[in-house]
């Protein structure tokens, strides 16, 4: 990148200020398909933001860019004042290298729609694997912490089980415990209840409500559970075609949506359950 491509002063002020996450004119394309279209948004520390919108509107891509599972096509992503999609080089920026990302990725944790527990490990090992091998936590301490976390998600009796022996809801609660074990500043929740049978959804959402109430962890949450979004989030972003169509306090978005896309989307979600 040439020096002229560096972010303008306005952004530097923003980065130096309060914001934990900054998306600066982010474009993400898959081939000809533009998923994110010059997206700007910011998230403050401790803020819980829900991303809603029709499928294909780019919500999940935002989480995946933050988790560095995808690379930006244009623009930059910042986390905690540091460039995350790029790394400083000379007076400008270069695309972030794997080692640069490895040192910074720990600030975030992610819970996936399909849980993605490691099936060859017990529940305990799933939760302790990263603390032991990434943070260097002593095994005993990691085990004790894992048991606490599994207690928190209501699975204190399943520490020695294998993931295949658990229901989807239980697996997802283990996945939440696993990401919390890394003590991330930011928790990314990617449609965490979409793959669950309806009767298992409430258990998972209760755990997340508990996490939201008892910690100051910053949350970015993609969900179709509107009552959950209303309860836990400080702010709701409505996405449409890779841009933010509307944003606001959950009460305003759900009770008095301004944008016609939001109105249509909420109507379809409520009708389809």
């Amino acid at each position: 990148m040439s020096p002229s491509d560096t972010p303008d002063n306005d952004l530097h002020q923003g980065v130096a200020g309060e914001d934990l996450i900054v998306f600066d004119q982010v474009v993400k394309r898959f081939g000809d398909l533009t998923v994110l279209d010059h997206l700007d948004f910011r998230v403050a520390p401790g803020e819980r933001v829900t991303l809603i919108g029709p499928s294909g509107s780019g919500k999940t891509t935002i989480l995946r860019l933050l988790m560095t599972l995808e690379k930006v096509t244009e623009g930059m992503v910042w986390v905690g004042g540091e460039p995350f999609s790029h790394m400083p080089r000379g007076s400008g920026f270069a695309p972030a290298s794997e080692s640069y990302l490895r040192a910074r990725r720990k600030r975030l944790g992610m819970v996936f729609q399909q849980f993605n527990l490691f099936p060859n490990m017990t529940v305990r090992k799933n939760v302790t694997e990263a603390p032991v091998h990434v943070l260097g936590t002593p095994r005993d301490e990691a085990n004790a912490r894992a048991e606490e976390l599994l207690e928190l998600v209501g699975l204190g009796d399943k520490v020695d089980a294998h993931p295949t022996q658990l229901s989807g809801g239980q697996q997802q609660r283990v996945a939440i415990a696993r990401s919390l074990a890394m003590q991330p500043e930011i928790l990314l929740l990617d449609e965490v209840t979409s793959a669950l049978d309806p009767e298992l959804v409430a258990g998972v959402l209760d755990v997340l409500r508990e996490v939201a109430e008892t910690t100051d962890i910053t949350m970015l949450c993609v969900t179709h559970e509107m009552s959950f979004a209303r309860d836990v989030s400080h702010r709701v972003l409505m996405f449409d075609k890779g841009r933010i169509a509307e944003e606001g306090h959950p009460d305003q978005i759900f009770n008095d949506p301004q944008h016609e896309r939001t109105q249509a989307f909420l109507k379809s979600v409520l009708e389809n359950g």
Binding site: M67, T68, L69, R102, R105, K106, L108, G109, M110, F112, Q114, N116, L117, F118, P119, N120, M121, E129, A130, H133, V134, R178, S179, M182
Partner: protein
Amino acid sequence: MWDFEFTFEAMPDLLNGLLTTVQLTLIGYSIALTLGLLVAIVRRVPIIGGVLHFVMEFIRTTPLIIQVVFVFLLTPANISAFTVGVVVLGVHYAAYTAEVYRSGIEGVAKGQWEAARALSLPTSRTWGAIVLPQAIRKVIPALGNYLISMFKDTPLLFAIGVTELLTQAQRVGSESFRVVEAYTLVGLLFLVVSIPSAIIIRRLEKRYVAV
């Protein structure tokens, strides 16, 4: 008529040959298992992986016996036929096991890699603790089949004079003109080893694939 006296006389030599055959198989198989795994992993690296793929494809599409003779002629005389044989056998089968490992690695869900990345696990841990244990478990039966296949290919080393089972049979048979007995015994001895191995492999298959 079947000559029982010859059978007893020939047995020690034949069992010696069988021992060599089993040694060839076990050492060759260890080479195939380790080298194949390395190849399967390195094949994912751009460029080097492409070159490696071409080499492995070449090995798989040319006959083993030609590779054995060719390499034997190229190696210095002080390297034993056994060593040449076992290495060629191992490398040849590595070309097959590499494909088996590759299918196992590709069978590991994308979400497993992503979860490992989201937890910031180092590459060595991602491979060693997550991807390979899942991949290898799935391909144990296929790998087992190559063990038996390799065992059955050891007589090809006859061509470079490794004194394995077939070479021994040829020798004792021609010394005593009891060729039918000698080769029949070879067949039976192969069966004695193959059948139990096949049963063990089938058990492994049930145990690992069912889960």
